[in-house]
Amino acid sequence: MEKQYASIKDYGYRDFTKLNKIYSIIKKLLVILIVLGLYLSIIVIAIQSLNESRNLSSFTRLSFQWYLNIVREQELMNAIKNTFLVSSIATVLATFLGTFFAIGLYALSKKSRVLWMLLNNVPILNADIVTGFSLMLMFRLLMVVFPNIFGLFTLVMAHLFFTMPFVILSVMPKLKETDPNLMDAALDLGIKPYKALIKVVIPAIKAGIFSGMLLALTMSIDDFVISYFNTGSGFDNLSIWIYAVIGRRNLTPSVYAFSTLLTLFTMIGLLTYQFLQRQKKGKNNEKNSTSSVSSQS
């Protein structure tokens, strides 16, 4: 008996196999174009950093001098140092405090939790200029008691104000996903509540904490407006410095070099992370393959 093949048309559908091929090519092209769009400015910055000339509008010759120059630019180095100091302190504090605040908010009744999560959105969505200016007014009041408050302290505080909500937002969904009995099980085993929190709950929401930290760092490292109003004592971060310098004078191409390095190092870090993960997984697979049959769902 001859084999009969079912065709998709018999069941009232048109056959788009050919169109699908074209579509998938268009799709790939579009992805490439959009990613290029996202990275276009980064690529241009990289090209500028490799240009021997300070002239931004024409490429003369390939040169790495601006990379070597980074350490020699005192003001730039100072700005970089300040940026890292402020952003790392703010990020670590925001992650640490934000996690515990999120746990606290999660423990509230649903009604008041919704209310506080609503307020939590305000610093995220508020216009930078409004936040920055009004925080400055706040800190001015404190100056009566602490005259030298402006500088690192106010900067970190301001950064905490707009980064912490991101951490809370990332941690909250993960808290909801955790098994409500997790905590009880730990308490049942005779562990004190706060110890149980650290030993049981925190590991369960690790992924949320980490992505919150990443967001906090992203927001903090590129902030200009809020930092601008709340800095003091010469504690300018990179954004403030760039803005002031670019406004009237020439920016040293070393800034582009630094920016490119930052992107490159992050990318290399990510790729290494990915590579290590894969290796680890590969090893696990080898170990397991003899003993377990992989689930098919």
């Binding site: 996202l38 509008s57 969505l125 912490m164 509540p193 990318m267």
Partner: protein, 275 residues
């Protein structure tokens, strides 16, 4: 969660209440009083005279510009951002975290540097032209296209992240169920995936819309100062220490922000998809 932990949220409640309400009240107060650098405490009084700024033709046009560009940017970001988020979800690459980090990585570079470099290559004679021999953008510096391009590709990561978060939460079995019930992949997308990701679209849209509406650096640099946004006017008011007008305009922006927050709560009760 253990009720005992409620105490952990107390400091944050105090912190939020003070830092959210005080600034807003301060803004409103400055906007509606005669307070400026030359007025002493005793002379402060209520004043509505600053309201005239709202009827200036420049203010109205700037507002119009901001709104139109914010809406257009949000829409384009939605189309492209959704597309990318969906492709990330479909991608066979296991470690989605790495992909998402790559999406936000450009944001680690300084916004002004990025925008300036875009402005550079949008001009007639630029560094890419000197390398490639041709101009990839033509000469769009200073036009609305330049501004739109800059806004879209600066804020798209917000859209991608929000939409992806929502997409990721959709149970794959639902998609299989739709196919099983006779829906073609395209129909499955419109009838199941898209409605279920709407939360993320709303949040992402707001995350794009608000900074575009209130921002000033990108239009200033990319329009070469020719397209004025409301943010530019506010910025100038603050620079020239006209805090009353600045605050008043900021209050108007604030109304948009509060509206957006309400919208978010309507769609997404506990802000789950806000990044």
């Amino acid at each position: 969660m253990n009720k005992e932990f409620r105490v952990l949220s107390r400091p944050y409640m105090v912190w939020l209440s003070v830092l959210v309400f005080f600034p807003i009240l301060a803004m409103i107060f400055i906007g509606f009083s005669n307070l400026d650098s030359s007025v002493s405490i005793g002379e402060i009084s209520l004043s509505f005279s600053h309201l005239n700024i709202l009827t200036q033709s420049s203010t109205i046009i700037a507002f119009r510009n901001s709104l139109i560009f914010a809406l257009a940017t949000t829409f384009i970001c939605f189309i492209f951002g959704y597309f990318i988020a969906y492709e990330i979800k479909l991608s066979k690459f296991k470690n989605k975290f790495v992909l998402l980090t790559l999406v936000i990585l450009p944001m680690w570079s300084n916004l002004i540097l990025r925008t300036e470099s875009l402005a550079n290559i949008m001009s007639e004679n630029n560094i890419l032209k000197s390398l490639l021999g041709f101009n990839i953008f033509g000469n769009i510096a200073g036009t609305w296209m330049a501004v739109l391009f800059g806004l879209v590709f600066t804020y798209m990561p917000f859209m991608i992240l929000s939409v992806y978060t929502a997409l990721e939460k959709i149970d794959f079995a639902l998609e299989e169920a739709a196919l099983d019930l006779g829906l073609t992949p395209l129909k499955k997308f419109w009838k199941v995936v898209f409605p279920l990701s709407l939360k993320g679209v709303v949040t992402g849209s707001i995350m794009v819309f608000l900074p575009t509406l209130a921002g000033f650096a990108i239009p200033k640099i990319l329009s070469r100062g020719q397209i004025v946004f409301i943010g530019n006017i506010i910025d100038n008011k603050f620079i020239y220490t006209n805090y009353n007008h600045g605050a008043l305009l900021a209050v108007v922006i604030l109304i948009f922000i509060l509206g957006s927050i309400l919208l978010i709560t309507k769609f997404d009760k506990e802000g789950e998809t806000l990044l």
